[in-house]
C-alpha cells in the first residue's frame, strides 16, 4: 500500500495549527485560538482512525517523503513507518491530545497566554506524532528533542513564576543527561549498520550479534552497548531512576500539559522507543535485565513516595513514574506487547486522573490535598470519573488497567528467570501501593469535610511545602513570588500568574475561598472527562487474556512488530498470580479506606511512630538533596570560582579588553600625523611617490 495523503496529514495538521497560532495568535485568533488548535488535532485523530483501518486490513507502510540529508554514505530521509505499533501510538496520542485540547478550552479560559498555550500544545502534538511515525532513528531523535522542547515551554508556561521557570530548566537539563546517551546510541547504530532506517537496521540486526567493540577503553558487547545507550534516553524521557527527578517538578505546568505530556504521551516515548528497538534489545540479555530492574525499582520507589505526598498533582506524577516503571519492567522481561498495552491503557486512565485533578484544582484553587476534603457533593462528575480512573489505575478487575497490569505481572512471573522472579515480586508490591496512594488521594480530596478556606494558613504552608520540595535556592524566590501576588491564590501552581486578567476579580472576593465558591467544572471540561472515563474502563477490553475468555487481540495485533515472548506457565499459576495481585490491590484499597475514612487519626500516629520511614518517603529519598550537593553545588562552584573568576574575568576579559587597548595606544601615536593640513598630506603623497619611483629605479 502506498502512502496516502491522510497518513501525511496526521503529523502536519497540528503543525499548521501551531503556525497559525504562533504567527497571528496574539492579534487575530486570541481567545478563539482553540479553533485552529482543536480542529487540527481532531483532524489528525480522524486521519489516525483511517490509518488504523489500513493497518487492521493488514497493510504496513514504509515510505519516504523527502530526502533530508545526503552526505556520502550517510542518507536520511523524512519518511513514515506505519505498522501496528505506530497505529497504537497514533490512536493513543491523537485521542488523548484531542480530548485534552478540548478540556483546555475550559481550563485555560481567559488566560493571557491562551493562544501561546494552544500553539505549544499543537507543536508538541506534531513532534510526538513525528516521533512515533518516523521510519528512522534521526526522525525519532527529532521528535524526541521536539517533545522535550515543548515540554520545557509548557512546564515554564507561567514563566514569570520562578518555581515554574526553574522546573522547566530542571526538566530540560535532566533530560540532557539521558539524551546525550541516546544521541551516542544513535551514532553507534550508524557505525554498526551504516544506516539509520529502521527497516535496514532491524533487518540486519543479527549481523551485530556477539560483536565486541572498544568503548572508552573497555571491550564491550556491541548490542549491549547500543541497547544501554538508547535506554539512557528512555531513562531521561520516561523519568526512571536516576533521572526521575524532573517529572514531579514538571507539575508546575498547567494541568492539561501534565495530562498530555507528563502522563499520556511524551513520557511514554521511552517505552515506545524500547519496544521499537526490540530486535536490538533482544540481542542483549544484560540490557534486558537492566531495563527490567530499573523499571521495577522505579516503580516501587515512586509508589512508596506517592503515599506521603500532599500535592495532588505530585501524587499523580509519582504514580506516572511508577506505571512507566511497570512498562519498562514488561519490556525488560521481553513482554513488549504487555508494556505497550499498559502504555495504551495508562494513557487513558492517567490522563483522566490528571484532568480530574485539574478540575478539582480549578474549583478549589489549591494543589494541597490537606486543604481539600468533602468535594464529593460539590463535584459529582469529577468525583465519579476520578473513582473510575483510580479503579483502573489500581487494577481492579474489569477495568482497563487490570488487564494490562495483570499481563505485565504475569509476564514477569512466567519469564522464568531469576530477574523475572525478582521484578515480579517488586511488581506485586507496586500492585499494593498503587491503590493505597490513589485511594488515599480520593478519600482525602472528596470524602470527609472541607478543610480549605484558611487562607493565611494555606499561604504559610505553601511556602514551607515548596521549601521541602526544592533544595534551598528555590525557597527565597518562591516566597518572594507569593508575597508579590498577595492574597491571590498563594502557592498554588496552576492559576497563579497566568490569570492576570482575572486577578482583580479574584482579589475582590477577598482572602477567603469559602465552600460556597466550589462548583463543578463547566461542560467543556467534564465532557472530555467522560469520554476518557469510557476509555479508562473499556480501552483494555481489546486485550483480555485467553484465560479470562478474551482473545488477547492486542498482543496478536502487535506480534508482527514486537514478536511473541515464549512464556511457560500453567493455567493454575496464571490464576494464582492474577488472584494474588488482585487480592493485594483490593487490600490496598481497603487499607486506604480504613486509614482515611475510618481511623482518620491513625495515619498521623503511624507517621510519628515510624517517623524515619515517613520522612524518607516524604522527602523523596533525599534524591533532590543528593543531586543538589553532588551535582548542582559543585557545578555552581566551578562556574563561580573557576569560570567566572578566572576564565571569564582574567582570560577572556584580558583578551577582549587588551587587544583594543593596545590598538588604542598605538593609534594615539599615529594620530599625530593626521594634522588636517592639506599640504602635509600632499607632501606625504609626493614623498611616497618619489620613494616608490626610487625603489623601482634602484631595484631594477
Amino acid at each position: 500500500m502506498e502512502l496516502q495523503f491522510y497518513h501525511v496529514l496526521i503529523p502536519f495538521l497540528p503543525l499548521v495549527g501551531f503556525i497559525v497560532n504562533i504567527l497571528i495568535g496574539k492579534e487575530v485568533t486570541r481567545y478563539g485560538a482553540h479553533w485552529p488548535g482543536v480542529l487540527t488535532v481532531a483532524g489528525s485523530w480522524v486521519c489516525s482512525l483511517f490509518t488504523l483501518r489500513d493497518v487492521l486490513a493488514g497493510h504496513t507502510i514504509d515510505a519516504d517523503l523527502y530526502s533530508w540529508i545526503v552526505s556520502g554514505t550517510f542518507k536520511v530521509s523524512v519518511g513514515f513507518l506505519i505498522d501496528p505499533l505506530t497505529a497504537v501510538m497514533l490512536i493513543v496520542v491523537t485521542t488523548c491530545a484531542t480530548l485534552i485540547h478540548i478540556y483546555s478550552i475550559g481550563y485555560m479560559h481567559g488566560d493571557t497566554g491562551y493562544y501561546r498555550f494552544f500553539a505549544y500544545l499543537n507543536l508538541f502534538t506534531f513532534c510526538m506524532l513525528m516521533l512515533v511515525m518516523g521510519n528512522n532513528f534521526l526522525l525519532l531523535y527529532f521528535g524526541w528533542e521536539g517533545v522535550g522542547l515543548c515540554s520545557y515551554f509548557l512546564i515554564g508556561y507561567y514563566f514569570n513564576k520562578k518555581s515554574a521557570a526553574d522546573a522547566g530548566k530542571k526538566a530540560f537539563i535532566v533530560n540532557r543527561f539521558g539524551d546525550f546517551g541516546f544521541g551516542i546510541g544513535v551514532f553507534m547504530v550508524f557505525i554498526a549498520f551504516g544506516t539509520l532506517h529502521y527497516a535496514d537496521v532491524f533487518g540486519n540486526v543479527s549481523s551485530i550479534a556477539g560483536q565486541r567493540v572498544d568503548f572508552l577503553g573497555f571491550t564491550v558487547d556491541l548490542p549491549t552497548l547500543i541497547a544501554l545507550l538508547l535506554f539512557c534516553g528512555a531513562v531521561g524521557k520516561s523519568a526512571q531512576i536516576p533521572l526521575h527527578v524532573w517529572l514531579p517538578d514538571a507539575m508546575e505546568g498547567p494541568t492539561p500539559v501534565s495530562a498530555l505530556i507528563h502522563a499520556a504521551t511524551m513520557v511514554t516515548a521511552g517505552v515506545f522507543m524500547v519496544a521499537r528497538c526490540n530486535p536490538i534489545f533482544n540481542l542483549s540479555p544484560f540490557a534486558m535485565d537492566t531495563v527490567a530492574i530499573i523499571g521495577a525499582a522505579t516503580s516501587l520507589f515512586a509508589a512508596t513516595i506517592a503515599i506521603t505526598q500532599n500535592d495532588i498533582k505530585r501524587i499523580i506524577a509519582y504514580s506516572t513514574c511508577s506505571h512507566l516503571g511497570l512498562m519498562f519492567l514488561a519490556c525488560g522481561v521481553g513482554a513488549y506487547a504487555a508494556g505497550i498495552f499498559h502504555l495504551y491503557t495508562h494513557a487513558f486512565f492517567k490522563a483522566l486522573l490528571f484532568l480530574a485533578a485539574g478540575s478539582v484544582i480549578h474549583a478549589v484553587h489549591t494543589n494541597d490535598i490537606q486543604e481539600m476534603g468533602g468535594l464529593k457533593k460539590y463535584m459529582p462528575i469529577t468525583y465519579a470519573v476520578f473513582i473510575i480512573a483510580a479503579l483502573s489505575a489500581a487494577g481492579v478487575p474489569g477495568f482497563s488497567g487490570f488487564f494490562s497490569k495483570d499481563e505485565i505481572i504475569w509476564s514477569a512471573y512466567a519469564s522464568h528467570s531469576s530477574v523475572g522472579k525478582l521484578v515480579w515480586l517488586m511488581g506485586t508490591a507496586v500492585a499494593f501501593f498503587t491503590p493505597l496512594y490513589t485511594f488515599r488521594l480520593i478519600f482525602l480530596t472528596f470524602h470527609g469535610t472541607y478543610r480549605g478556606g484558611h487562607h493565611a494558613e494555606a499561604h504559610g504552608h505553601a511556602v514551607t511545602h515548596s521549601a521541602h520540595a526544592h533544595p534551598a535556592p528555590h525557597t527565597s524566590g518562591h516566597g518572594a513570588h507569593d508575597a508579590g501576588h498577595g492574597s491571590h491564590d498563594p502557592g498554588h501552581d496552576t492559576h497563579g500568574s497566568g490569570h492576570n486578567t482575572h486577578a482583580a476579580g479574584h482579589g475582590a472576593q477577598g482572602s477567603h475561598h469559602g465552600e460556597h465558591h466550589i462548583h463543578e467544572s463547566p461542560k467543556i471540561m467534564t465532557v472530555p472527562l467522560m469520554f476518557l472515563a469510557v476509555g479508562a474502563v473499556a480501552a483494555g477490553w481489546v486485550g483480555i487474556p485467553p484465560i479470562l475468555g478474551g482473545g488477547a487481540h492486542f498482543a496478536h495485533f502487535l506480534e508482527p512488530v514486537l514478536g511473541h515472548p515464549e512464556f511457560h506457565g500453567t493455567h493454575a499459576e496464571e490464576w494464582a498470580v492474577m488472584g494474588l495481585s488482585t487480592t493485594i490491590a483490593l487490600l490496598g484499597i481497603g487499607l486506604a479506606a480504613f486509614f482515611y475514612l475510618r481511623k482518620t487519626d491513625l495515619p498521623k500516629k503511624l507517621a510519628e511512630q515510624f517517623s524515619m520511614l515517613y520522612r524518607i518517603s516524604f522527602r523523596k529519598y533525599y534524591v533532590d538533596e543528593l543531586y543538589h550537593y553532588t551535582i548542582v553545588k559543585p557545578t555552581l562552584w566551578i562556574a563561580n570560582s573557576v569560570l567566572v573568576a578566572i576564565t571569564d574575568a582574567k582570560i577572556i576579559e584580558g583578551i577582549v579588553n587588551g587587544v583594543p587597548g593596545a590598538i588604542g595606544r598605538f593609534s594615539q601615536s599615529l594620530r599625530k600625523i593626521q594634522t588636517g593640513i592639506v599640504e602635509h598630506y600632499g607632501i606625504f603623497m609626493a614623498a611616497g611617490a618619489v620613494f616608490i619611483l626610487a625603489l623601482l629605479y634602484f631595484m631594477r
Binding site: G676, V678, E679
Partner: protein, 100 residues
C-alpha cells in the same frame, strides 16, 4: 623636427611646476590649477610617446585624462564653493576639521 626628449623635458617641467604649486600654495583655487598642470604634463608625455611609438592608445588615454579632469574640475569647484559657503575662506590652513 623636435626630438622626443624635448617633449619629455617639457612634460617633466610642467608636472614639476604643478607639484610645486600644489605643495606651496594655500589657496584652494591655485592648488586646483596646479593639479590641472600636473594632469596636462602627463598628457604631453602621453601624446609625445604616442606619436613616437606610432600607437594611438596613448592619445586615447590622453582623451580619457581630459574627460576625467573635466569631471574632476566640476566636482572640485563644487567642493570649493561649498567650502567657501561654510567657512568663508579659500585658504586651506583655515580648514583643519580632519585633524586627528
Amino acid at each position: 623636427m623636435v626630438p622626443l626628449s624635448w617633449y619629455m623635458v617639457l612634460s617633466v617641467i610642467v608636472f614639476a611646476i604643478g607639484v610645486f604649486g600644489f605643495l606651496s600654495r594655500r589657496n584652494v583655487i591655485l592648488m586646483f590649477m596646479s593639479i590641472e598642470l600636473m594632469l596636462n604634463g602627463v598628457n604631453i608625455n602621453l601624446i609625445a610617446l604616442s606619436h613616437y611609438l606610432q600607437d594611438l592608445r596613448g592619445q586615447i588615454l590622453a582623451f580619457f585624462v581630459i574627460a576625467v579632469a573635466a569631471a574632476e574640475a566640476a566636482i572640485g569647484l563644487a567642493i570649493v564653493i561649498a567650502l567657501f559657503r561654510n567657512k568663508a575662506t579659500a585658504h586651506v590652513d583655515d580648514v583643519k576639521e580632519l585633524r586627528g
